[in-house]
């Protein structure tokens, strides 16, 4: 702050100076939030990657069994294991694996020898488009339902919405997926029941293929966001400053956006960050139902094959996705409700 006061003296045009200072303060606060969030998530990332790496030692699998079958000579097994560097001490293996990881190199698949980064690339596009579409559906409908229920609280609208949220909260993604296939693909024939078309072959076709899986994934987010938002907004409506705003004669719209939404949306946003892993995890199931070759499907196939480096690659990517999404949510949360950062 001292530096900024020196570079922008008060005299040089009042308005631009004020605006610049405000922007700088907001940027500084965002950076501070970011730094604090990174400090939280670095240990999470380290522990998660360590757990992921120790999976090979825990499972006792080796590339030799994959390539040579069950009845290989001990000498051949030893040769292959030393070729993959598996005869070195555990921590040394972890060190070099982690070093490669930081350079974006996830190693090679045991079964095909192809680079895992390359194998994952295509699947990731599919999974990410489905997951983010699901997230958008979750946010839009969750906020719409939650707001509607809170504004029309204790009426039949509120009761219907709350009941509906209870029903969809007990439906796991695979149940929703089957119902969607049954109704919209088999029954009505509106959407294709399986497969994927890249976006450059026609946007409408692409959207039609990812809609059902995205809807199947979004139900959990919708119900959680709507419920949190409803209780958050109702709690904000009970505050004295809202009564004060009503007394001052402000319009209901202004009260809602300026007083209630900003203060009541915090829990809903943070719960969204906590539900993102569920969406990523659910993609394993929905990709299986809808025949998408995404990274959840890749994880499933690789794990059943015993291809440990491929599984580790998928897990690391999923951890990265979750951690970076939570970073974004933390920053947004810090901007919307600064008070939420005090406890962090």
């Amino acid at each position: 702050m001292a530096v900024s006061a020196a570079t922008y003296p008060f005299v040089s045009g009042r308005r631009p100076g004020v605006v610049a200072a405000r922007v700088r303060r907001a940027a500084g606060r965002t950076l501070a939030t970011l730094a604090r969030s990174v400090a939280i998530f670095v240990p999470v990332f380290l522990v998660a990657t360590f757990v992921t790496f120790s999976l090979r030692a825990l499972s006792g699998l080796s590339p030799a069994r994959l390539q040579l079958g069950e009845d290989a000579t001990p000498q051949a097994i030893h040769n292959i294991e030393s070729q993959w560097g598996l005869d070195r001490p555990f921590l040394a293996q972890y060190g070099s694996w982690f070093d490669h990881l930081l350079h974006g190199n996830l190693g090679r698949s045991w079964s095909s020898g192809v680079s895992i980064t390359q194998l994952l690339g295509d699947g990731l596009t599919i999974s990410l488009s489905v997951s983010f579409f699901a997230l958008i559906i979750g946010v839009v409908f969750g906020f719409a339902f939650g707001t509607l229920a809170a504004v029309r609280r204790t009426t039949w609208i509120d009761r219907v919405i709350t009941g509906f949220m209870t029903v969809i909260s007990v439906m796991p993604p695979f149940v929703v997926g089957i119902i969607l296939v049954e109704v919209f693909a088999v029954g009505l024939g509106w959407f294709p029941s399986a497969g994927y078309v890249p976006a450059n072959q026609g946007f409408g076709l692409w959207l039609a293929h990812i809609t059902l899986p995205a809807v199947a994934l979004s139900f959990d987010a919708i119900s959680v966001v709507a419920r949190q938002l409803r209780s958050g907004l109702i709690a904000a409506y009970r505050e004295n400053y809202v009564t004060g705003a009503i007394v001052r004669g402000l319009s209901p719209r202004r009260i809602f956006f300026r007083h209630v939404l900003r203060n009541g949306a915090g829990p809903a946003l943070s719960v969204l960050g906590a539900r993102f892993p569920v969406i990523i995890g659910g993609s394993v199931v929905t990709e299986w139902i809808f025949g998408l070759q995404g990274f959840g499907r890749f994880a499933n196939d690789a794990a059943q094959q015993g291809d440990v480096p491929a599984v580790q690659g998928v897990l690391v990517v999923s951890i990265l996705l979750v951690v970076s999404f939570n970073l974004i949510i933390n920053v947004v949360l810090g901007r919307v409700t600064p008070a939420s950062q005090r406890g962090v």
Partner: protein, 297 residues
């Protein structure tokens, strides 16, 4: 406490539903009208007097498979919850007493397990560790355990630093008496809530795994596995998934409802209320909180 919980109507309904489902799980094998693994001549038949819910693609009786499959699906989720209870609650309580290094380490591990994409890890680890039902239970149990860790840690912290425990210590009460009189009452309700929640979560995860064919060997029926095979024959049997879906949703709903009821009865901080009437008054106050402001709006 059980009586207080059951005095709520929603809890009674939930407990009834769960009781029926557990009954099916325990005695399903005896109730099954036919051999769940024996194929018959009629394949993909509709509901009839002989096959109440029809037959699947190998001519096996769906009702029998459903009853037989309930054992793995339901008892599996209970087992998952118990594993999570042991893995989570013990370090949760110890983290208050064993010093800051242990506390820091267990907190970081709990943070990590919460942040992990649950199902991806459950699928990957179970399949890598040998693809058996016990591997699945242990993996899922460990992945859910942070819930118990947090709950038991918070409850223990609240009790250990409370003045009435200090007062009881000063007045010469034994540790055992304090645990029975003060700690137990405070720790039990949150653990019970978490247990009901975990059974629900564990049930969803175990069903998802069996749906993907992970954790079970093929001929053994499970609810998830039934749905997976129904999915392939939706064109021929559009109503086949209804029965397993209803059972799955009823189980999850029952667990959630029971967890809510226990929370309502025991109060926010796990404080046991004195009588049920106050619990009910609180519930109504929570449900319809804003009659005054509704008028002002």
């Amino acid at each position: 406490m059980v009586r207080r919980v059951l005095s709520l109507v929603s809890a009674r309904i939930a407990a009834g539903v769960l009781f029926v489902i557990v009954f099916l799980a325990v005695f399903g094998k005896l109730l099954a009208p036919q051999d769940p693994l024996a194929g018959g001549p009629q394949q993909l038949a509709g509901a009839s007097w002989h096959h109440w819910l029809g037959t699947d693609y190998l001519g096996r009786d769906v009702l029998s498979r459903l009853l037989e499959g309930s054992r793995i699906s339901v008892l599996g989720s209970v087992e998952v919850a118990l594993i999570a209870l042991v893995v989570g609650a013990v370090p949760g309580i110890l983290s208050v007493y064993l010093g800051r290094a242990f506390e820091w380490l267990t907190l970081r591990v709990a943070d990590t397990l919460i942040a992990l994409p649950f199902l991806v890890f459950a699928v990957a680890v179970t399949a890598l560790l040998g693809n058996g039902i016990s591997q699945a239970m242990i993996t899922v149990g460990v992945l859910i355990s942070p819930l118990f860790y947090r709950v038991s840690r918070a409850a223990t912290l609240a009790v250990a630093r409370s003045q009435y425990v200090e007062a009881a210590l000063i007045s010469g009460a034994s540790i055992g008496w304090i645990v029975r009189r003060h700690v137990w009452v405070k720790v039990l309700p949150p653990i019970a809530v978490a247990l009901a929640q975990t059974v629900g979560i564990g049930f969803v995860v175990v069903s998802s795994l069996t749906f993907l064919g992970i954790g079970v060997q093929p001929p053994a029926p499970t609810w998830g596995g039934l749905l997976a095979s129904d999915l392939r024959y939706l064109h021929y049997q559009p109503y086949a998934p209804v029965a397993p879906i209803v059972l799955i949703m009823a189980t999850v709903w029952g667990c959630n409802q029971l967890a809510d009821a226990i929370r309502d009865v025991s109060g926010e901080a796990g404080r046991a209320l004195l009588n049920t009437r106050r619990a009910r008054v609180n519930r109504v106050a929570d449900r319809e909180p804003v009659s005054v402001e509704g008028g002002a709006r």
